[in-house]
């Protein structure tokens, strides 16, 4: 199902997305919980804050209609696929990067928040993980930081920022 990030972050169309920086605006849906854990992709409750009535769509798109009929009316969570889910052996802390490391969302996630259409989800048949993790070519050549997010990429960024200590095994593989 498609989700139009650009439309939802447009202050002329959608009210209530607060924040001065782009990162803060991302956080209004992809929030940190009180205990510091990252909520990830928001649950249906977040969408229901505005789209609460399955009978009255807020726009004219067929996607919204599908969303209202299939998910809001049935009270079903949308089974979103995650482009950025790391393997289970990796312990990744968003708050360490966003708050402590002062990183923007775009540094790792690119212009995802500005897209009108969600990019196609391509998954590795063997591992079940998205191509955004594995990278689009085997040589590991990438134009943007977000083209590949394997261990070497994490290490590369840590080294560049003078945080080589963070490359110790136990930091990520708890």
């Amino acid at each position: 199902m498609n989700f139009n990030h650009a439309l939802h972050l447009n202050p002329e169309i959608v009210d209530g997305i607060e924040g001065d920086t782009e990162t803060e605006r991302c956080l209004s849906c992809h929030a940190f919980r009180e205990d510091g854990t990252f909520a990830g992709i928001p649950k249906l409750d977040k969408c229901l804050e505005c789209h609460d009535d399955p009978e009255s769509p807020l726009g004219e798109t067929p996607e919204e209609q599908e969303f209202l009929n299939k998910y809001v009316a049935e009270e079903q969570e949308i089974p979103w696929l995650s482009y950025y889910r790391q393997p289970d052996c990796v312990y990744f802390s968003h708050i360490a990067h966003v708050k402590m490391g002062d990183q923007d969302c775009e540094t790792c996630h690119g212009d995802h928040g500005k897209t009108e259409k969600l990019p196609a989800y391509k998954v590795n048949r063997m591992t079940g993980y998205s191509i955004d993790i594995w990278g689009r070519n085997i040589a590991g050549y990438k134009a943007n930081t977000w083209d590949r997010m394997k261990m070497d990429d994490c290490a590369e960024c840590h080294t560049e920022n003078d945080l080589e200590d963070n490359n110790a095994c136990f930091v990520c593989h708890k």
Binding site: D35, T37, P87, D88, M126, T127, G128, Y129, W134, I138
Partner: protein
């Protein structure tokens, strides 16, 4: 071109080298690394939002507070609550394993079921709630139309003052049946003891934390007695090595249980002779003038000899004890040494706040009424009734009574019929339920007088220490309905299953955790949404009543079960006493000691109810100590060493029959005035002791569920190899006894009683009393799943059940057995 071997090898090598130059092997290896972590059987829980739900555990009557950690909607861990007065952060292994009772499809009923295979086979098909309710409602209505509503009976394992117990009994009485039968328990024996000696029907409220000497008559203080979270915390308090607080713990038990092993002193009298020991201690205390004369002289009755209004001379407690229970006499009976009895008595009486506790093992199984009376008489002798650090006499939480039950003519007539278990009859005047006699009545009658049997929160097929008698009775009952959420043995014998929620899925109350020394009302609330299509049995009873209609329906004027709980709680508010918040820094027992005041910490009833639901707690940590003038509600107004209530009941019984016959029927061997006082009754058996020279004693472990709740598989991991190995359980036998039969460690042996046989392996244990074979309770299931079924043997199957004198309750501590080496 010719393909010869050389070309073939070249092709292979070239191919291999070529493949390495492609991305294939590198990508493949990388992917395999991740793929091996994602096999479907590797448990990786989904991520989600963390939350905590506070509730109260109801797996045993202890009522420890629990905190359940959840990830999104799934409960993942149960821990003890630090902010609950019963158990400061403590929890027992069964409580911790509770999630395995919730999320276990292989042992739960996922919805209403109808039996399709033979009884005991466990073959059921799913039916709708509508069909299930109609089936029973129609059946009960038919019984009423035939004017025999008393053919409906119910077995209830819910705690005595709980709302569920009230609802079940209410249903039976509204229908018109007096046959509401409860599972026998130590609490019931305590109630009867208090009734005949103090005139109060409350539980034994032991002020353990403030006591400085604990004389435990077999109570499994570390085996799960009372509220385990509380008792283990108290144990810690007792053993704090400060000059101020060092309490002494003495365990009286024939076997070196964990409690006995860790107590300060362990004495092992022969099983069944504990009453003699208690009275032997009384002898020394009286002889040496160590008793509390203030209390005994002014506030007790029957201590000295007395003359009744008809001019008859009566022997008092003092004379009886001094004549018949000298240390030498008691040593003969119990097997202990006289000097140990003397020093124990002096230690007990010399302590500032000594408590003698009763209720063996976990305190689930009933005790002997005369024995409990003997133990309680010790507490009275030292004047520690209703004193700080003693046995308190409390009022139960002031819950509102429920409205009157509506009874039509059919119901009134039915209720006039005598109970099928003869409880409360002239023969068993103090007992409220006698399930053993119910089984006997059913078995003896050509046609079962019970037509429809409802079973709630109980698994009598497995847990009753009756050598399988109840199971035989079940076979004869035409229609059995089980409300158990679990696929237990009794449910397998049932024809219809209306499964309840598990304790983590419903709201229910906890009225006074076992043995607590102040009134406490807890609310256990749902932690997760119901996992399966089960329904709260309280709601089901109300729906059933409405379907039956008439006066039965109008006896349940509530919409849902939660409303009943709320209505009862109104009384707590009206009493304007008690608090709903607990500050862990001041434990309740300390507040009792400091005798502060307790003012309500809520304004309106709705406030209070909201707080109770949130925190699960209402409690009153204040007590009016002493108060001996107004405390006892006996006919004499005093603590009765000589129970006038027993005397009155006996007089009533002997109006039509001779004293000898009466005593024989009640199972009492003693004669004369001693009958009305605590005394030692030797446990009689009809078995031929030359053929069955040994005794079998069951014992309980804290890490093995032995009541009606199933055993969480986690706990299996804590069982030692010399208790259960593969599918065989072990019997603990003293090496001396074992060598008489030529038995070595691990040998297979058959234990045979007059009632049955079991096959076990031998565990040589010095802590086992010679001549006694000990079997753990909790093994030998024939239902549930592969973690319980077929593992070990159930000692209840071979218990040669006797009947306790005066109470008629099961005697499970006197099973003569023989050993046959395999």
């Amino acid at each position: 071109m010719e393909i010869n071997r050389r070309h073939f090898i070249a092709l292979l090598v070239g191919g291999a080298a070529g493949i390495n130059a492609t991305p294939l092997p590198w990508k493949f290896t990388d992917d395999i690394a991740i793929w091996t972590q994602n096999w479907p059987w590797v448990p990786v829980p989904p991520t989600g939002e963390f939350s905590h739900v506070k509730s109260v555990c109801t797996l045993c009557p202890g009522g420890c507070g629990i905190e359940v950690r959840k990830v999104d909607d799934r409960a993942v861990k149960i821990e003890g609550r630090t902010d609950y007065p019963v158990n400061p952060g403590g929890i027992c292994p069964l409580g911790m394993g509770g999630l395995q009772l919730l999320y276990n499809e292989s042992i739960r009923f996922t919805g209403p079921m109808k039996r399709v295979g033979p009884r005991g086979s466990g073959k059921f098909i799913a039916i709708t709630w509508d069909e299930a309710l109609s089936t029973i409602a129609d059946r009960i209505s038919d019984l009423r139309k035939q004017e025999r509503p008393e053919a409906l009976a119910a077995i209830d394992g819910n705690p005595t003052m709980s709302t569920m117990a009230l609802m079940i009994e209410r249903l039976l009485r509204a229908v018109g049946s007096p046959n509401y039968v409860r599972i026998p328990s130590a609490e019931e024996t305590c109630r009867m003891t208090n009734l005949v000696m103090q005139g109060t029907e409350g539980p034994m409220a032991y002020d353990l934390e403030n006591a400085d000497y604990i004389l435990s008559f077999g109570s499994g203080l570390l085996e799960g007695w009372g509220a385990p979270g509380r008792v283990m915390n108290a144990w810690g308090l007792w053993h704090e090595h400060t000059a101020k607080r060092k309490a002494r713990v003495v365990q009286i038990e024939s076997r070196a249980s964990n409690t006995a092993s860790k107590a300060d002193q362990w004495l092992a009298p022969k099983p069944g002779t504990e009453a003699a020991l208690a009275l032997g201690l009384a002898h020394v205390i009286i002889k040496d003038h160590l008793y509390n004369a203030d209390f005994v002289d002014a506030y007790s009755f029957g201590f000295n000899n007395w003359v009744s209004s008809d001019g008859k001379n009566h022997m008092g407690y003092k004379t009886m004890v001094l004549n018949s229970y000298s240390p030498d006499q008691v040593a003969e009976i119990t097997g202990l040494r006289p000097k140990d009895i003397v020093s124990l008595a002096r230690d007990f009486a010399g302590a500032k706040a000594p408590i003698a506790t009763c209720g063996k093992g976990k305190g689930y199984l009933n005790g002997s009424l005369y024995e409990f009376m003997a133990v309680q008489s010790l507490n009275a002798l030292v004047g520690n009734i209703n004193m700080l650090g003693g046995v308190l006499v409390c009022d139960p939480p002031p819950l509102s009574p429920l409205p009157e039950i509506q009874k039509d003519t059919i119901a009134s007539e039915g209720l006039k019929k005598p109970r099928l278990d003869h409880a409360g009859s002239r023969r068993y005047p103090f007992s409220k339920s006698l399930i053993g006699d119910l089984a006997k009545t059913i078995i003896k009658s050509p046609k079962s007088p019970v037509n429809t049997l409802l079973v709630f929160s109980a698994n009598p097929d497995f847990t009753l220490p009756d050598g399988g008698a109840f199971r035989e009775a079940l076979k004869k009952v035409p229609f059995i309905v089980s409300f158990s959420p679990y696929q237990d043995e009794t449910s397998y014998m049932a024809d219809l299953i209306l499964p309840d929620h598990t304790y983590l899925e419903k709201m229910d109350d906890v009225v006074w955790p076992t043995g607590l020394q102040y009134p406490l009302y807890g609310i256990s609330k749902p932690v997760v949404k119901p996992v399966y299509a089960t329904k709260n049995s309280g709601d089901v009873i109300m729906r059933l009543a409405k379907r039956i209609g008439g006066s039965v329906g109008s006896s349940f004027p509530w919409k849902k079960y939660d409303d009943v709980l709320k209505e009862r709680a109104k009384g707590l508010f009206d009493a304007q006493a008690g608090q709903v918040h607990y500050d862990g820094s001041v434990p309740a027992w300390k507040r009792l000691r400091e005798r502060g005041s307790v003012t309500p910490d809520y304004k309106t009833f709705d406030d209070m109810w909201k707080e109770i639901k949130a925190g699960g707690l209402w409690y009153l940590p204040v007590h009016a100590y002493k108060n001996w003038e107004r405390l006892f509600k006996t006919p004499t107004g005093k603590f009765e060493f000589f129970s006038t209530r027993i005397e009155l009941a006996f007089d009533d019984y002997t109006l039509k029959i001779s004293e000898e016959t009466a005593l024989k029927n009640m199972g009492i061997t003693e004669k004369g005035d001693a009958v009305f006082m605590p005394h030692y009754e030797p446990a009689l058996s009809d078995a031929d002791r030359s053929a069955y020279p040994l005794l079998m004693m069951p014992y309980e472990m804290i890490n093995l569920a032995s009541g009606w709740t199933p055993n969480p598989p986690y706990l299996n991991k804590t069982i030692f190899d010399n208790q259960l190995r593969k599918d065989e359980s072990f019997a603990e036998i003293n090496p001396k006894t074992a060598s008489k039969y030529g038995l070595k460690e691990g040998d297979r042996v058959i234990i045979k009683s007059p009632t049955g046989t079991v096959r076990v392996r031998v565990n040589l244990f010095e802590g086992a009393m010679p001549g006694i074979v000990y079997l753990p309770l909790g093994f030998g299931h024939t239902a549930y799943d592969e973690f319980s079924r077929g593992k070990g043997v159930n000692p209840n199957d071979i218990i040669h059940m006797g009947q306790d004198p005066l109470s008629g309750h099961p005697v499970w501590w006197n099973t003569p057995v023989q050993l046959i080496k395999v």
